[in-house]
Amino acid sequence: MQTVVLVKQVVDTEAEKRLLPGEWRLDRASVENILNPYDEYAVEAAVQLKEELGGEVTVLSMGPQEAEEAIRKALAMGADRGVLVSDPVLQGSDALATARVLAQVLRGLGFDLVLCGSMSTDAQTGLVPAALGELLDLPVLGAVNRLEVHGGSLKAARQTDEGAIVYECPLPAVVAVAKGINEPRYPSLRGIMGAKKKPLDTKTAADLALELGAVGLGGARTRVHAATSVPPRAAGKTVTEYESPQEGARLLADFLHENKLV
């Protein structure tokens, strides 16, 4: 069982996020960066599959050189080797351009299954798995919260409001797992010490023979034109003056109706 897990390094979810002035990109320099929390579920799922079926888990990421730390964490959790695509020309890649880069790496790797989280906590598009499926002509299943692999096929379930839907599809496939599919393990101390010794290849755009017009800012099909902060929450309205409880209740009901809250 050869599984590739896609991971991304993101700004710590608890940190205050800032955009670089004029560029509409996150300022990563001033804050702590972590392995995208959604990706931890994918890493855990991959390691569990390896523990059950054998094989190898490769962690793949695209990002700045520091993204190596996110890969090392996945290696500490039990993955076997890492691949980091890092090249300044890839900066500004949108979801599609990112998927093109990752697809190119995947073509060279050989795999049975690609696992990823449902989205990254920074851009939150959730588009990469679908784009990858399209580019590699593979089946894609998203929001998976139960996953089994039998021989050359997988069985995956996703929970909806109405009930669970169970899918089967042949391997190889791309699966985005939902938060809560498992409980990601903490890396053990031995895992952390061992992670440094595991192979981690860094690749550039040239190594991958990427068509430069299709990646980076130039290859992006979407542009961020503006960004605004969430406005601070306005003060609430307090009803203090009323003749009777009935009138007080009516004032509250009026407010709810006026604001289309009921």
Partner: protein, 380 residues
């Protein structure tokens, strides 16, 4: 001395911080209130290899560096000082075996200390021999193939859960009392824990008295040479003091974190406490003291790892400064939080109670001051 951290050390500290915050954080009040050894925390540490920071690499340890141990216990202490004693006691016991144990003793004990399968305690203090360790009355007498021990030890951390205890006892040899160290398994006949103390803080870390009544141990259980006990004790305490200083740094940081978060949220007179100068001056001082203590502890740990000549001076200074800083900082945390700080549910009153003992055990702070002063005058 350079104490920049490796990528692995940073990753280890981060992992322990997450583990403690998520898994132990919600249960710290329960640990304090139950007042018993939290076996489930020891199991959590076993599962994630945390005990491996207490022994050298050759015997199943992580990297054998005291600095790594300090980083781990700091993060444990930040959430739960009682829990940090689980690793603190293990390290205090592992040190003498590492430094003075025979090849057989190291193989037999250190490999199991590294996994946490075996817990160890350090049996030095007696009812009438605290800072004055030489006043001990526990005795060992040679018998066929081994030794027979009699005596009483008090204030021994984790004696009730330990599998083996390093017991210091006097041996009459060449007409003099020679303090000697022995490894005493707690399942030997004649060993009894007769009291578990009820105490002010660190309530999840049992402090016990035990008696030795004609406890027989084989010759192979003597640690180091006859009469080497004082050296073993002192060198064990160098290590123990640095580790306990790291625990108190974590405790102080934990109290600061809680108080700072509170001051950001809590509004009085129409603005958060964090924007009042009266609170800012306290917080600025707290953070500075904790950081100064941390740097001193890391520096002491690096000196220990490098076997530098000034270990004693640095271990005493680190222990003294870190525990005093943490006593002040935990008290300030309660003060900033006012009435809420005094209430059990916010955690800082526990931290203030826990902080006190770090000024007392592993050599009272006045002993540390004297140790440092003697070193100053020796070089004057």
């Amino acid at each position: 001395m350079d104490h920049s951290l490796s990528d692995e050390q940073v990753a280890i500290a981060t992992m322990v911080r997450d583990l403690m915050t998520n898994e132990v954080g919600p249960r710290t009040q329960e640990i304090d209130e139950q007042g018993v050894f939290p076996t489930w925390v020891a199991d959590l540490f076993r599962k994630h290899d945390l005990f491996a920071v207490t022994v050298p690499e050759d015997y199943g340890g992580i990297d054998g560096r005291l600095l790594t141990h300090c980083l781990v216990v700091e993060q444990v202490g930040r959430v739960c000082a009682s829990c940090s004693m689980i690793l603190g006691a293990q390290s205090l016991g592992a040190g003498p075996i590492t430094l003075f144990g025979s090849a057989d003793q190291k193989e037999r004990w250190l490999t199991r200390l590294a996994t946490g399968e075996v817990l160890v305690a350090f049996g030095l203090t007696e009812p009438n021999a605290g800072s004055d360790a030489k006043a001990m009355t526990t005795r060992a007498v040679p018998t066929d193939g081994g030794w027979r021990l009699n005596g009483r030890k008090s204030f021994i951390t984790h004696a009730n859960v330990a599998d083996v205890i390093i017991v210091f006892a006097k041996v009459k040899a060449d007409g003099a009392d020679q303090i000697t160290a022995f490894l005493v398994e707690t399942d030997r006949a004649g060993f009894t824990v007769d009291k578990i103390e009820h105490k002010m803080g660190l309530r999840g870390s049992p402090t016990c008295s035990f008696v030795l009544e004609d406890v027989w141990i084989p010759q192979a259980n003597m640690l180091g040479e006859l009469g080497q006990g004082l050296e073993i004790m002192l060198r064990g305490l160098h290590r123990g003091r640095i580790g306990s200083a790291a625990q108190s740094v974590g405790l102080g940081q934990g109290a600061l974190d809680i108080a700072a978060a509170y001051a950001t949220q809590r509004e009085q007179f129409g603005r958060p406490l964090a924007r009042m100068q009266a609170v800012q001056t306290i917080v600025g001082q707290m953070a500075t003291e904790i950081e100064a203590a941390r740097q001193l502890v890391y520096s002491a740990a690096c000196r220990y790892d490098a076997r530098a000549a000034d270990i004693e001076r640095f271990s005493s200074m680190a222990k003294l400064f870190a525990s005093d800083a943490t006593m002040r900082v935990t008290g300030d945390a309660v003060q900033i939080m006012g009435g809420y700080g005094y209430m059990v549910e916010y955690g800082v009153e526990r931290m203030m109670r826990d902080a006190k003992v770090f000024q007392i055990f592993e050599g009272a702070n006045q002993i540390q001051q004297i140790t440092v002063a003697r070193d100053v005058f020796a070089k004057a």
